[in-house]
């Protein structure tokens, strides 16, 4: 099978049962994408497929031979970090780092969704996303971080989104 990953072509002898995640980790040697559950429950495996965030453990490689797959390695390198990667470092948006590639890929996809005007579950106005802290939190809730760097993850994303820090109005404050 042939794949385009981070702008490069790869050929791999994958099984039809091979997920995109296992393709990346076991066949292509890109281990930046993490396996936390293999069941679409944690988000550690999040990559971008044609620009959209996808749990790569939940989709089969064989279905994506004509797609553009972008992984954490394709966003930036230790010496040349993507702005979100740099913001995660600056804000300590991680601890063990295992959920982190998924968080960052998810954040890239999420910011694009917000830019396109896709509302979130907590958007006050379905026409205009304001990317409030509550929205960032809700939109990022498919990515579990057991180290619980959540406040720092929100800080990092907010900074890259160009929003000023604000009091975080979580549910319970709507009355």
């Amino acid at each position: 099978m042939k794949f385009t990953i981070n702008g490069r072509s790869y050929e791999a002898e994958a099984d039809i049962r091979t997920s995109v995640l296992d393709l990346l980790r076991e066949h292509v040697g890109l281990t930046g994408s993490k396996k936390g559950c293999d069941h679409g429950q944690c988000g550690a495996c999040t990559v971008l497929i044609n620009g959209r965030r996808v749990n790569s453990c939940l989709t089969l490689a064989v279905m994506h031979q004509d797609d553009e797959i972008t992984t954490i390695e394709g966003l930036g390198t230790p010496d040349d970090l993507h702005p979100l990667q740099a913001a995660f470092v600056a804000h300590d948006g991680y601890q063990c780092g295992y959920c982190t590639p998924g968080q960052i890929c998810s954040a890239v996809g999420m910011l694009d969704e917000a830019k396109k005007g896709w509302p979130s579950h907590v958007s006050a106005d379905l026409e205009h996303s304001d990317l409030s802290d509550a929205e960032i939190s809700e939109r990022m809730s498919g990515n579990i971080c057991r180290c619980a760097a959540y406040p720092n993850i929100v800080d990092a994303i907010r900074e890259v989104a160009g929003r000023a820090p604000a009091g975080r109005d979580v549910a319970g404050a709507d009355a």
Partner: protein, 745 residues
């Protein structure tokens, strides 16, 4: 080597206080600073390599098979059927060698071995090895296994027999002082209530993983392990080989929270399979297997008795915990650990007991003891405050002990009241509704709660080697680990401050048992133990540099890679010839007995409880902590955020449910076992109080990784009571437990 004998090895046993720390006189100016992690760029770009990510030649994939019964025996495994499937190499089991349970942290023996007998659902009985992961997974799922079912005990009941007499686990199983029963009779006001907490899972994001590879009779295991030095000993004992034949490599670990303290079943399975096949084998536990067959925090039932005079003075404290474990295992959840020293009161009973069940092993999860023990104690104190009509902070002030209330010793340092007072001011405690259930905002009921945080401090024997090279760069090496705690960074800061070397000139080599031994990461001892070992090695090197420069050690200043003294300034590389090195070793000593050492803090929470649905939202949380010297404000804060969030999970959502017919976990994955997600966690606030603890270690720091969880859930529970006037004594406080008692809408 110049001016330093090879093998220069300094050992300090903490028998005496260590009033002077060179970190206070260092001029590099990095200690304590909120520096970003040195391993950060690797972590955010996918370049950090975790256990399952080493690409070895000829690697075979192993998938574990767990027992499908809760008690009984394996009669047969039909390996031939699995081997007939394409790509499958072998089905490997060894009924004697495979470990039945994970090992507890720090043990040097093998855990209980032997997997023909099934003691709990999911016990790992075999490993299917194939050329690909997909082939191994399919074959493992279809492996025919014949069992003989036995009678097990699958439901926890306080009516069941208990041990009554258990060996010490961090604390003695039972201590008694005075007469708690009499104190309860004499009390003007008392509380006698039982709190329960469920089984919990650490749920580190990286599943347990091992790659085993043999070279002759030597094993190298790339493993996700918190304590490689003792893990290697456990592994060697399990395999029946000498400890020096096992090397564990664990450069990056995707979280542990106690679950990776001791070896887990995948390690031995991978090692046995690799040996038998003559090629490296990778075994990564499925998420469900991590739940089923690693380790849980035990459920607890805690009877809390508090006896007070009318003025709030405690005359008695009783904390009797019943937890559960397998019949072969002695570990009990030491829930009363901080009840020993948190409050004054003459009559005291702190006890622990076990009900024996066919549930998976119980062992350490973040802050074993306090994490659930303070749910009981701090909620009971809140109940007493209500009964006495005294502010909960004032009640704690009334019962603040001058010395350890059980031992005839002083506290090494204790900032509980300063933490409570600082927090009260910052959080706006005076705005708390004094009468519960009285503040409403639309359909939400609003309340505030407070709880004390306390975590016993530990120091563990640990070594580190520090080398200064001729180019002035420095290498630090040790079998210490970084499980997300920030070891790479804070230990670099210690070395940089001690040697006056810029951070980027220091290479920190961690996570390899070929380096000098360390206690690893656990019990919040990592930073203090390893930091102290590095301190000692650097202190020795400073002496050598002073001699090489011919200045008095006290007159030597080290900064930016230069040694300055006697009006001269020299690059340190010029003073070390071919290079110098020293090993530092720290050991716990009498200071542990002479002083009660702990970190303290205070948690404040504001919650909103929905009057219609019973849903609780945490709106705000503040943690104020004093844990000796803070080595890096940024990573320390993150540790506290993580702990506080574990507290949110314990208070509101985390509940591992066992099927009472088989012991099987009902919610054995991340969709059903609810750890907090981003939207559950508000913008938490963390404040550190300046503190030094000269009795703890030469760097004057204390553990912080677990302090954040201690008491956090209790502050939330107390806030829920303040919001609703409903006291739920069974954790987690899910909406079904509130809704019936909420006022009609």
């Amino acid at each position: 080597m110049l001016g330093l004998d090879k093998g220069d090895h300094v050992t300090l046993t903490m028998d005496e206080a260590h009033p002077v720390s060179l970190l206070d006189t260092g001029v590099q100016g990095v200690i304590g600073k909120p520096l970003s992690r040195v391993d950060g760029p690797d972590k955010v770009s996918g370049a950090a390599t975790y256990a399952a990510e080493y690409a070895l030649d000829d690697l075979a994939y192993g998938v574990l098979v767990g027992a499908a019964i809760g008690k009984g025996r394996v009669v047969s495994i039909d390996a031939a059927a699995a081997k007939a499937m394409p790509g499958v190499i072998d089905v490997v089991t060894d009924f004697d060698t495979f470990i039945r349970v994970s090992q507890q942290g720090g043990e040097t023996e093998a855990p209980t071995q032997g997997v023909r007998d099934i003691e709990y659902f999911g016990e790992i009985i075999a490993i299917v090895v194939a050329e690909t992961f997909e082939a191994a997974r399919d074959a493992a799922e279809r492996l025919p296994v014949e069992y003989e079912r036995g009678d097990g005990v699958f439901a926890f009941s306080m009516d069941d027999a208990r041990d009554g007499d258990l060996p010490t686990n961090i604390v003695p199983a039972r201590t008694e002082q005075g007469d708690i029963d009499q104190a309860m009779r004499d009390a003007a006001v008392s509380v006698d209530v039982t709190y329960t907490t469920p089984s919990q899972n650490s749920a580190a994001m990286e599943p347990h993983a091992s790659i085993a590879t043999w070279e002759g009779d030597s094993l190298t295991l790339y493993g996700a392990y918190q304590m490689p030095t003792s893990d290697a000993q456990q592994l060697a004992e399990s395999l029946g080989i000498a400890a020096d034949k096992v090397r564990i490599i664990a450069h990056f670990i995707g979280g542990g929270f106690g679950s990776k303290l001791g070896i887990a079943p995948e390690s031995v399975a991978a090692a046995v399979a690799a040996k038998r096949l003559g090629r490296p084998v990778k075994a990564v536990m499925m998420r469900q297997q991590v739940f089923d067959a690693t380790v849980r925090r035990s459920n607890t039932s805690q009877r809390m008795r508090l006896a007070a005079r009318a003025d709030g003075t405690l005359i008695g404290i009783g904390h009797e915990t019943t937890a559960s474990n397998l019949s072969t295992e002695d570990f009990f959840e030491p829930a009363g650990i901080s009840t020993h020293f948190l409050y004054a009161g003459d009559n005291r009973l702190v006890s622990h007991d076990l009900v024996r069940l066919n549930w998976l092993l119980s062992g350490s999860m973040r802050a074993p003891g306090e994490a659930v023990g303070l749910l009981g104690l701090e909620c009971a104190v809140d109940e007493l405050a209500m009964a006495l009509d005294i502010d909960p902070i004032e009640l704690r002030r009334i019962n603040e002990p001058a010395r350890d209330p059980e031992k005839d010793v002083d506290f090494s340092s204790r900032a509980l009241m300063p933490a409570l007072d600082t927090g009260a001011k910052r959080f706006g405690w005076e705005q708390r509704p004094v009468r519960p259930g009285t503040r409403r905002e639309g359909e939400w009921l609003i309340g505030m709660g407070v709880a004390a945080a306390a975590r016993a401090n530990m120091l563990m024997e640990t070594s580190a080697k520090v080398a200064i090279h001729p180019d002035g760069s420095v290498t630090v090496s040790s079998a210490m680990t970084d499980i997300g705690t920030g070891s790479y960074t804070i230990l670099t800061q210690v070395a940089a401050e001690m040697l006056g070397v810029p951070m980027d000139r220091i290479t920190m080599e961690l996570g390899d048992t070929n380096d000098v031994p360390a206690a690893g990461s656990g019990g919040s001892w990592g930073a203090c133990s390893s930091g102290s070992a590095i301190y000692l090695a650097c202190e020795a090197l400073r002496g050598k540099l002073a001699r090489a420069m011919d200045v008095a050690e006290a007159a030597l200043t080290l900064k930016d890679g230069r040694a300055i003294g006697d009006n001269r300034s020299t690059p340190i590389g010029d003073l070390v010839g071919d290079g110098i090195e020293a090993i530092g070793t720290i050991k716990p000593g009498e200071q542990e007995e002479l002083f009660t050492q702990a970190s303290y803090g205070a948690h404040f929470a504001e919650v909103a409880v929905n009057r219609v649905t019973g849903e609780t939202r945490v709106r705000r949380m503040l943690g104020v902590f004093a844990a000796g010297r803070i080595l890096n404000e940024k990573t320390a804060r993150s540790q506290c955020l993580g702990g506080m969030t574990f507290g949110i999970g314990a208070a509101l959502t985390e509940d591992l449910i066992h099927d009472t017919r088989t012991g099987k976990l009902v919610n054995r994955d991340l969709a059903e076992y609810h750890v907090p997600v981003n939207a559950d966690v508000p913008q938490l606030e963390v404040v550190f109080l300046p503190e030094r603890d000269i009795h703890a270690n030469p760097i004057h720091a204390k553990g912080i990784g677990e302090l954040g969880i201690c008491g956090a859930g209790a502050a939330i529970a107390n806030a829920i009571y303040n919001a609703t006037a409903i006291r739920v004594r069974g954790f987690p406080i899910t909406l079904d437990k509130l809704i019936a008692a909420l006022p009609a809408v």
